[in-house]
C-alpha cells in the first residue's frame, strides 16, 4: 500500500515535470528557430565579443589534428601575443563537421578541415565565415595559396588558407614483408593474412577503387555512378576482409600494432610513416603504382568564432617560416609556408618516398556532395557487418 503511494507521487511528479517542460519548450523554440534559420546571424553574433581581445589577448580555441599545434609553438605564441590557446583534437573530417554543426561553430575559433570538405560543408551546414585576406600575411604562403582559396570558394567568398598537405599510402615492415608495396592489392594478399590493417574509411575506399582501375572522382558527380563504383569497392573489400587483422581508427593504434609486429602492412599517412622510419628504418613509407591519395588541410575560421583577431594572429604565426619548420621537423608534415622545411633526415625520406614521378601522380581528395558521404557510410557499415 505504502509503496504504491510512493509510486503515484513519482508518476505525478513526472507528469508535472513533463507538462512544465512542454510549456517551457514552446517559449524556447521560437528564438532557437530564428538562430538556426538565418545563417547570416552567426557572424553578427561575433560582434559583441570584439571587446574581448582588448582585455588581455583572450583565448583562442582550436579544433585541429594531432601534431598541427605542437606545444613548443603554442607556448611561443602565448608568450608573443598574450593569447591563451585551447586545443581539441579530431580524428576525422566528418567528426569536425559534426562537432561544428552541433553548435553552428560556437565554441571554436579556428579549425583545420581538409580542403575538399570546406565548400561542401559551408553549403550544407554554414559553419565557417569568409576570410578577410587583408588580415592574412599572404607573402609567407607558397604557390598553393591561389588554388586553395579557389577550392574553398563558396558563393564567391574564399573560406580556407592552405596549411598542411600530405599523402596516404602504405607503410611496410621491410623485414617481414620485403616484397609488399608495389600495389594497394598487397592489402588483400592472402600470404599476409592477419598481418594487414587499414581504416574502414573514405581514403581506403579510394585506394581500393584506384587499385581496380576505377575513378571515383569522375563518378562523384552522379549519385548512381558513384554508387556503382563504391559497390565494386565494397565487393572487393568484403573479399579481402578475412585477411585484415583489424580496421584501425587512430594513428597511435596503427603505430602500436606495427611496432609489436602484430601487423606488417598497413595504410598510413606519410608523416606518421616517416617518423616511424626515423625511429626504426625497417619501416618504410611506400607509394604503390596506383599513386598516393593526397589531401590538403587548411585553416578556416568558425562562423561562431568569438575571437576572430586571435584566429588571424595564429594563421600568420603558424605559417611563418621558422614556426612551420618546427611542425615539419617534429612530425614530417609538409606545410604551405614558403621555404619552410624539416630536418635533413626527414627531407631525405620525403624525397625517397615521393620522387617527382610519384609527386605528379597523386590522387587528390575531391569535393563530395552529401549523397557521396552517405554512400561511403553505407559501404563502411556493410563492410563491418559482412561476415
Amino acid at each position: 500500500m505504502k509503496k504504491s503511494n510512493v509510486l503515484i507521487v513519482v508518476v505525478l511528479g513526472l507528469i508535472f515535470s513533463l507538462f512544465a517542460v512542454s510549456c517551457g519548450k514552446k517559449e524556447e523554440a521560437a528564438p532557437a528557430a530564428d538562430a538556426g534559420a538565418s545563417e547570416e546571424a552567426a557572424p553578427e553574433e561575433a560582434a559583441p565579443e570584439e571587446a574581448a581581445p582588448e582585455e588581455a589577448g583572450g583565448v583562442l580555441r582550436m579544433l585541429t589534428w594531432e601534431g598541427y599545434a605542437p606545444e613548443e609553438l603554442v607556448e611561443k605564441f602565448t608568450a608573443d601575443t598574450g593569447i591563451k590557446v585551447e586545443i581539441s583534437y579530431i580524428g576525422d573530417n566528418n567528426e569536425l563537421i559534426a562537432k561544428m554543426s552541433a553548435t553552428h561553430g560556437v565554441g571554436y575559433d579556428l579549425v583545420s578541415p581538409t580542403l575538399s570538405y570546406v565548400a561542401t560543408a559551408q553549403e550544407s551546414q554554414g559553419i565557417y565565415q569568409p576570410l578577410d585576406l587583408s588580415k592574412v600575411n599572404t607573402d609567407q604562403i607558397n604557390e598553393s595559396l591561389d588554388a586553395v582559396l579557389e577550392g574553398s570558394t563558396f558563393e564567391g567568398e574564399p573560406y580556407a588558407i592552405p596549411f598542411v598537405w600530405g599523402t596516404t599510402a602504405m607503410i611496410v615492415n621491410t623485414e617481414l614483408a620485403p616484397d609488399a608495396g608495389s600495389t594497394y592489392m598487397d592489402l588483400c594478399d592472402p600470404q599476409y593474412e592477419n598481418r594487414i590493417s587499414y581504416r574502414s574509411k573514405y581514403d581506403t575506399l579510394y585506394m581500393f577503387a584506384y587499385a581496380q582501375g576505377l575513378d571515383p572522382e569522375a563518378a562523384v558527380g552522379n549519385e548512381d555512378d558513384y554508387r556503382a563504383v563504391m559497390d565494386q569497392v565494397l565487393e572487393k573489400l568484403i573479399e579481402c576482409k578475412p585477411y585484415v587483422r583489424v580496421y584501425w581508427d587512430s594513428r597511435q593504434q596503427v603505430e602500436d600494432l606495427l611496432k609489436k609486429e602484430e601487423i606488417w602492412i598497413a595504410s598510413s599517412w606519410d608523416a606518421s610513416a616517416w617518423s616511424m622510419s626515423l625511429e626504426d628504418p625497417k619501416f618504410k613509407y611506400v607509394v604503390p603504382e596506383e599513386g598516393a591519395v593526397g589531401w590538403y588541410d587548411t585553416l578556416a575560421i568558425s562562423a561562431g568564432a568569438e575571437n576572430v583577431d586571435a584566429a588571424y594572429e595564429w594563421i600568420n604565426f603558424i605559417l611563418a617560416k621558422e614556426n612551420a619548420s618546427v611542425i615539419s621537423a617534429q612530425t614530417g608534415y609538409q606545410t604551405s609556408s614558403a621555404g619552410a622545411a624539416g630536418s635533413d633526415e626527414m627531407l631525405a625520406l620525403v624525397e625517397e618516398s615521393l620522387p617527382p614521378e610519384k609527386m605528379s601522380n597523386i590522387n587528390w581528395y575531391f569535393p563530395k556532395p552529401d549523397y557521396a558521404t552517405d554512400i561511403e557510410a553505407d559501404v563502411e557499415e556493410q563492410l563491418k557487418a559482412a561476415q
Binding site: 509510486l7 513533463l18 559534426a98 587483422r245 609489436k260 558521404t373 557487418a385
Partner: protein, 283 residues
C-alpha cells in the same frame, strides 16, 4: 488527493533535485530526440521515413538483432556468474573476508570503462600477457590472438557490468534471514530445493533489478564493444554513432535511438510481467 500531497510534503523536498535531474538530463533530451526522429533530414518535413528505413534495411535489422541477442545472452551469463558471487559474499564469508571480497569486486569500477577496455587489450592481444603466459606454461608454442572475437566482446561486457548485478542481488540476499534457510533444511529440503523454493524467490527483485541494469548497459555499450570486437564488432550503437557523426543525419540517428529505447523498455516490461513483479516491488 491534496491531503496525500501534504502528507508527502517532505518526500517532495527530497524528490525535487531528482526531478530536475531527470527532467533536464533525461526527459527534455528524449522529447527532443523523439521529435527529431519524425523529421526528414533533407526536406525538414514530417515523415515516418526514418523508421521505415530501419525496417526495410536488412543490414540494420540484422545488426539490431545481433545486438539484442548478445545483450540478452551476456545478461544471462552475468547473472550466472554474479549470483553465486553475491551468495558467497553475503551468506558464506566471515565479516573480514566479506569486506575484502566486496572491495575486490568494487575496485575495478574506480577506473573508467575506457581504461578497463584497454587493460583487456593489453592482456588479450597477440603479444599480450595471456598469450605469453600460455607459452611459458608450454601449452602453445606460438602467439595466440584472443582479441577481436565475439567471445572477447562478451568477456568485456560481463566485466563492465558485473557490479550492477552483484550489488542488487546482495541487497536482497542480505534481507533473507539465515534462519529461513536453516528451516528449509530442517523441513527436509536439500541444496537445490532450498535454492529453488526459498533463496531464489526471495532474491527475485534483486535479480530483476540487476538484470535490467546490466541489460540496458550492454545494449547501450559502445566503447567496450568497438575496442574489443575489432573488424566484426558492429553493434547497434555504432550505427547510431555513424548517423550522427559520419552522415550528419541526426534525424535517422534519433529514430534509431528511439527504436533501441523502445525495444529495451518493452523487454524489461515483458520480463517484469513474466516474473510477476512490478518495478516498485523490484526496487
Amino acid at each position: 488527493m491534496l491531503e496525500k500531497i501534504k502528507k508527502y510534503r517532505r518526500l517532495w523536498g527530497v524528490l525535487i533535485p531528482y526531478l530536475i535531474w531527470i527532467g533536464v538530463l533525461f526527459v527534455i533530451p528524449h522529447i527532443k530526440l523523439f521529435g527529431l526522429s519524425f523529421i526528414d533530414y533533407r526536406s525538414d518535413e514530417i515523415t515516418l521515413g526514418n523508421y521505415s528505413k530501419f525496417f526495410s534495411s536488412p543490414l540494420y535489422r540484422r545488426v539490431f538483432l545481433r545486438t539484442g541477442i548478445f545483450a540478452i545472452a551476456t545478461t544471462m551469463l552475468t547473472l550466472a556468474i554474479s549470483f553465486p558471487t553475491a551468495f558467497i559474499i553475503t551468506k558464506i564469508l566471515g565479516k573480514t573476508m566479506k569486506s575484502v571480497v566486496l572491495l575486490a569486486v568494487i575496485l575495478p569500477y574506480w577506473i573508467s570503462e575506457l581504461i578497463r577496455a584497454f587493460a583487456w587489450m593489453v592482456l588479450l592481444r597477440e603479444t599480450g600477457v595471456v598469450s605469453y603466459m600460455l607459452q611459458v606454461a608450454g601449452i602453445t608454442s606460438e602467439n595466440v590472438e584472443f582479441l577481436y572475437h565475439n567471445g572477447t566482446i562478451m568477456v568485456g561486457l560481463i566485466y563492465t557490468s558485473m557490479l550492477f548485478m552483484i550489488i542488487p542481488i546482495m541487497n536482497s540476499l542480505d534481507s533473507l534471514d539465515d534462519s529461513l534457510i536453516e528451516a528449509a533444511y530442517d523441513l527436509g529440503g536439500n541444496f537445490w530445493s532450498t535454492m529453488k523454493e526459498v533463496i531464489i524467490p526471495h532474491s527475485g527483485p534483486g535479480i530483476m533489478v540487476g538484470s535490467t541494469m546490466v541489460f540496458m548497459l550492454n545494449l547501450g555499450n559502445y566503447v567496450t564493444v568497438t575496442l574489443l570486437g575489432g573488424k566484426n564488432s558492429l553493434w547497434f550503437t555504432e550505427n547510431i554513432y555513424n548517423q550522427f557523426i559520419v552522415r550528419f543525419n541526426q534525424n535517422q540517428g534519433a529514430a534509431f535511438g528511439v527504436i533501441l529505447l523502445t525495444f529495451s523498455v518493452l523487454l524489461v516490461w515483458l520480463s517484469l510481467k513474466v516474473t510477476k513483479q512490478d518495478m516498485a516491488g523490484a526496487m
